[in-house]
Amino acid sequence: MPIPGDSQGGIAMGRVWSIIIAGVGGQGIVTTARILAESALASGYSVKATDIVGGAQRGGAVLSHVRFGNLVHSPIVPDGLADVVIGIEPLEALRSSIQYLRQDGTVVFNEEPVYPLTVLLKQQKYPPLEEIRSALLTITKNVFTLKASELARSAGSRLAAGSVLLGFMAAVSGIPIPKHNFHAAMEEVFTERVARVNIKAFELGFSKGLEAVNRLG
C-alpha cells in the first residue's frame, strides 16, 4: 500500500483531480487554493483553478475550484464530479458537497461554524454538526471532520485552518502530490514566518489524517 502523502506523483492519462475548497470570506480559501495549485504545479501537473467570490469580505460564501492532471481543459468542476471537498466551514462543506462531490468522494471539513448574521438574529437556525455529517453520509462514506481552527491556532494562527485541512486531505484522499511539494509551495508563497506557521499547521492536519486512516484500517 502506498504511504499516504508520500506519493511520487503520476496519474493515469486523462485523469483529472478536481478539488473544491469552500468556506466564508476571510477564511483563506483563495490562499489555500493557491497553495494547492502551486503544489500540483511543482509535482509536474498542469493546473487550472478559479474562485467564485462575491463580496468575500462581508460574510459571503467563497468557493475555489482547483483541478490538475496531465491535461486540464476547464477550471470549473462540473456538478457531482469533485474528488474532494475541503470545507473550512461546515455548512459550506455541505452546500458545496451536495452540488459538487462525486459519489464516494472525500469530504474533509472544519468543525467550527461561521454563523450567518440571520442566525445571530435568530431568523434562521444553523444545522447541528451531526445533521451535516449524516447528510454528507448520503453522498459518501468518506466524511472527515476536525477542529481545524483550533489546530491552526496552536500552530500559530487561526487563519492557517486551510493548511490544517490540506494536510489532513493529503493524508486521507490519496491525492498524488508528495508532501514536500506542499511544504515547498508554502515556502514559495508565504513569507518565512507565515510559511513556518502554515507548514506546522499542515503537519498537524497530516498526522490527524494518518490517525484517521489507521483507525479505518
Binding site: 498542469s46 493546473v47 459571503g60 482547483v66 477550471p75 464530479l81 448574521l117 445571530l120 487561526r158
Partner: protein, 649 residues
C-alpha cells in the same frame, strides 16, 4: 467560532512572490498567475507605461497588482475617480505616445462609453488596451450585462481569453495591434477568467524609452461641425477591414477538425474550455469539430464559413446573451450555408447567467442524439436537506462604522418620521442596510443614483422625507453632479455620505477623503462636506458615527432642516477592516470589548437591533463578544441598555 472577516496574511504575504514573478526576466519560466495578474504581466511585457482603473469586481486586482511593481518599472498607475476619467486619462497617455492600459468592470464601461464613442473616431497613437471585467451571473455587481454588444457598437476589436495564460498573450498582442491600427483594443475578461489560476509562461519584457509628446492633429477635434465626425465615422468603418483581417489571422483562433465530423462546437473564452470537457465526457471528441474564436467582435467570417460549410449543425457555447449565435447565424445566412446554429436560446428562450457544464451536455445531446453519461443526481439531497442549506447573506463587517450610522439613523427616523421616509441607496457596503436588522434601503440602482433619485422624489412632492445614502467613493465617482442639481433646483432632502475613507467593498483602496493616492503617497485630502459647502449646500454637518449620541443628534437636525436645498450629513469613521489592518502594520493592539455576564440580561439589543457579527447570544442567554472578531469600535457598549459591555482589561 464567529465570522473572520479579513485575512491580512493572504494579501500582504503573497506579494513578494508575486512581485518576483511579475518582474522576472526568465523567459520561458512557468509561474501560476490569476487572470488579473496575468493581464498585469502581459502589460509589463508589452511595455505599458500608464495605467488607470476604478476598483470593481472582477478586475480590481489588476491595478492593485500593477501598483506593487509600478515603482520598479517606472509605470504611472492611478486609481481614477471614475471609469470615464480613467478611460480619458489612458487615452491621452496613448495619444501622447505612451502605451496604456485601463481596467474597469462591465458597468464601468457604461460610464466610459461616452468618451469611448469619440476615442474610437479620433483613434490613439501608442497601444491602448481597455480591460473590461465582465460579471455574468452578477456575483458581485448590481446587474449582469453582456459587454460584447458595446464592442460592436463602438466598432472596436474585443478579444476574449479562455484563461490566464491566454489573457497574458492577448494583452501583448492586443497592445501591439492597437498601436498598428491606431485604435483602442478591448479585452473582455469574465469573472471565471479574472479570478482563475493557471500556469503561465513568461515572455520577454520590453522597456520602451519614450517621452510623452502630443503631436497635434485635427482628428483629435471630434466634432460634427463641417461633417468631421461623420467623416471620422466613415474612416472607422474603413478600418474594420484591417481589423477583421487581423482577427481572422490572429493566433488565438483555434480549429480542431478532421473533416469527418458532422457537428461542431463554436465558442470563445471560458465557454470553450467547458465545451471541450463536455465533449470528452460524452466520448464525442472525435464527432464534433471545434472552433475557438479569438474575439467576439469582429467575427472571422471566412474562418466561420470554412468551418461550418460541411457541418450539419454547430453548437454555440457562450455566457448570458446569444450574441455569437445570432451573429454566426447572420454570417452563414449571408453566405448561403445551411449548417444549423444551435445555442442556449434554443433550449431556454431567455438565457441568463453563466453557461454551465450541464447545459452544454444538454446541447450536445440534443444535436448528436446521443445520451451523455449520467451524472449522479443530487435532487434527493437537495430536497432532503434544503432546510439545512440556510442562506448566507452579505453583511457589514464586525466593527463597521456604517452599522453605527444606521443604528443612529433608524432611531432618529423612527422617533420623528416613523415610516414616512424613503431611502435611496447606492453602490457600496452600506447597501447591506437593506437587510435586517435595519431594512433602511428602499431603492438601489447604479453608481451615484441615490442623489438623483432623491432629487426626483423631492421635486415630485412626495409626503415622505427623502434620504440619499451614499458612500464617499461613490459620492466622488458620481454623486457630485447630482448634488449640484439638488442645490440648483432646490430639491429638499437629506444626503448622508458614509465616509469611511476607502473604497470598502472592493478591498479598501484609498478614496480622496483619505489623503493618500494609489501608491500610498500623501496627497490633498478632499472632503465631501467641503464640496457640499462649495456648491451651496446650506446645511452641512460632519460627525463621528461611533459616537451614537452625536450621530443621532445630527440626524435629528438634518431631518428638521426645511431648506432651501438639501441637507448634507457626513458620517466619518475609517473602514473597520482598513483600520484593523493599519493598526496591525503599526504593531498596535486593538482595544477589545467584553460582556460582564452578571450585568447582561440577554435583552438582545446588541444582537437583534445592532447586529454586529462579533456578538453572539449564547445558550445561557448571555451575550458574548468573540475576541478575534472585535475591532474595538465600542459602539455596542453605547447600545447596551444595562452597561454590560465594557473595555477588556
Amino acid at each position: 467560532m464567529m465570522a473572520t472577516f479579513f485575512n491580512p496574511l493572504s494579501q500582504t504575504d503573497r506579494k513578494k512572490m508575486l512581485k518576483d514573478s511579475l518582474l522576472s526576466n526568465e523567459k520561458g519560466k512557468r509561474v501560476i498567475l490569476s487572470g488579473n495578474e496575468a493581464i498585469v504581466r502581459g502589460a509589463i511585457e508589452a511595455g505599458v507605461k500608464f495605467a488607470t482603473s476604478y476598483p470593481g469586481n472582477p478586475c480590481t486586482e489588476i491595478l492593485e497588482t500593477l501598483i506593487s511593481v509600478s515603482g520598479e518599472l517606472g509605470i504611472y498607475a492611478e486609481w481614477s475617480i471614475n471609469e470615464m476619467v480613467a478611460l480619458e486619462a489612458a487615452s491621452a497617455a496613448s495619444i501622447a505616445g505612451l502605451r496604456s492600459l485601463v481596467a474597469m468592470k462591465h458597468v464601468g464601461l457604461n460610464w466610459a462609453l461616452d468618451p469611448l464613442m469619440c476615442i474610437n473616431l479620433s483613434g490613439v497613437e501608442a497601444g491602448m488596451l481597455v480591460v473590461v471585467g465582465d460579471d455574468p451571473q452578477s456575483r458581485a455587481s448590481q446587474n449582469e450585462e453582456d459587454v460584447r454588444f458595446l464592442a460592436s457598437m463602438s466598432e472596436l476589436p474585443m478579444l476574449e481569453p479562455s484563461g490566464p495564460a491566454e489573457a497574458k498573450e492577448m494583452v501583448v498582442w492586443g497592445i501591439e495591434f492597437s498601436e498598428r491600427v491606431k485604435l483602442p483594443v478591448l479585452l473582455r475578461s469574465a469573472q471565471r477568467v479574472s479570478h482563475g489560476l493557471e500556469d503561465v509562461v513568461l515572455g520577454d519584457i520590453i522597456q520602451p524609452n519614450v517621452r510623452a509628446e502630443f503631436k497635434k492633429d485635427e482628428k483629435y477635434l471630434v466634432t460634427g461641425a463641417g461633417g468631421r465626425s461623420v467623416r471620422l465615422h466613415e474612416s472607422l468603418h474603413k478600418k474594420q477591414e484591417i481589423i477583421e483581417s487581423a482577427i481572422e489571422r490572429s493566433p488565438f483562433n483555434k480549429v480542431v477538425k478532421s473533416g469527418e465530423e458532422r457537428w461542431g462546437i463554436v465558442s470563445a473564452g471560458m465557454g470553450y474550455c467547458i465545451a471541450v470537457e463536455a465533449l470528452e465526457f460524452c466520448g464525442l471528441e472525435d464527432k464534433f469539430a471545434r472552433l475557438k474564436l479569438a474575439a467576439p467582435h469582429p467575427l472571422p467570417k471566412k474562418l466561420l464559413k470554412d468551418f461550418c460549410s460541411n457541418l450539419e449543425a454547430v453548437v454555440v457555447v457562450e455566457d448570458v446573451e446569444p450574441y455569437l449565435q445570432t451573429s454566426i447565424r447572420a454570417i452563414l445566412a449571408e453566405e448561403g450555408i445551411s449548417c444549423r446554429v444551435y445555442g442556449r436560446s434554443d433550449f431556454n428562450p431567455r438565457p441568463v447567467g453563466e453557461i454551465t457544464f450541464n447545459e452544454v451536455l444538454g446541447m450536445i445531446e440534443r444535436v448528436s442524439g446521443r445520451e451523455s453519461p449520467c451524472i449522479n443526481s443530487r435532487k434527493p439531497q437537495v430536497a432532503m436537506f434544503r432546510h439545512m442549506l440556510i442562506s448566507r447573506p452579505l453583511t457589514m463587517c464586525s466593527g463597521c462604522p456604517h452599522r453605527a450610522t444606521f443604528y443612529a439613523m433608524k432611531r432618529a427616523v423612527n422617533r420623528i418620521l416613523r415610516d414616512r421616509a424613503i431611502f435611496c441607496g447606492d453602490i457600496g457596503c452600506y447597501s447591506f442596510a437593506s437587510q435586517p436588522p435595519f431594512q433602511l434601503i428602499d431603492l438601489k440602482f447604479s453608481m451615484g443614483s441615490s442623489i438623483g433619485l432623491a432629487c426626483g422624489f423631492a421635486k415630485s412632492n412626495v409626503d415622505d422625507k427623502v434620504f440619499a445614502i451614499i458612500g464617499d467613493s461613490t459620492f466622488f465617482h458620481a454623486g457630485i453632479p447630482a448634488l449640484i442639481n439638488a442645490v440648483y433646483n432646490d430639491a429638499r432632502f437629506v444626503v448622508v455620505v458614509l465616509d469611511n475613507l476607502v473604497v470598502g467593498m472592493t478591498g479598501q483602496q484609498p478614496s480622496p477623503s483619505l489623503g493618500l493616492n494609489a501608491n500610498r503617497t500623501e496627497t490633498v485630502r478632499i472632503l465631501p462636506e467641503d464640496i457640499a459647502r462649495a456648491v451651496g449646500v446650506k446645511f452641512v454637518k460632519a460627525f463621528d458615527p461611533l459616537n451614537l449620541k452625536e450621530a443621532e443628534r445630527a440626524f435629528e437636525e438634518a431631518i428638521g432642516y426645511q431648506g432651501p436645498g438639501p441637507a448634507m450629513l457626513v458620517a466619518r469613521s475609517p473602514c473597520a477592516v482598513y483600520a484593523a489592518r493599519e493598526a496591525r502594520i503599526r504593531g498596535e493592539r486593538l482595544q477589545r470589548y467584553t460582556v460582564l455576564e452578571d450585568r447582561c440580561t440577554g435583552c438582545g439589543v446588541c444582537t437583534q437591533h445592532f447586529g454586529c457579527p462579533a456578538i453572539v447570544m449564547k445558550e445561557d442567554n448571555k451575550a458574548r463578544i468573540e475576541a478575534d472578531d472585535c475591532t474595538g469600535c465600542g459602539v455596542c457598549a453605547q447600545v447596551c441598555p444595562y452597561r454590560a459591555i465594557v473595555k477588556e482589561a
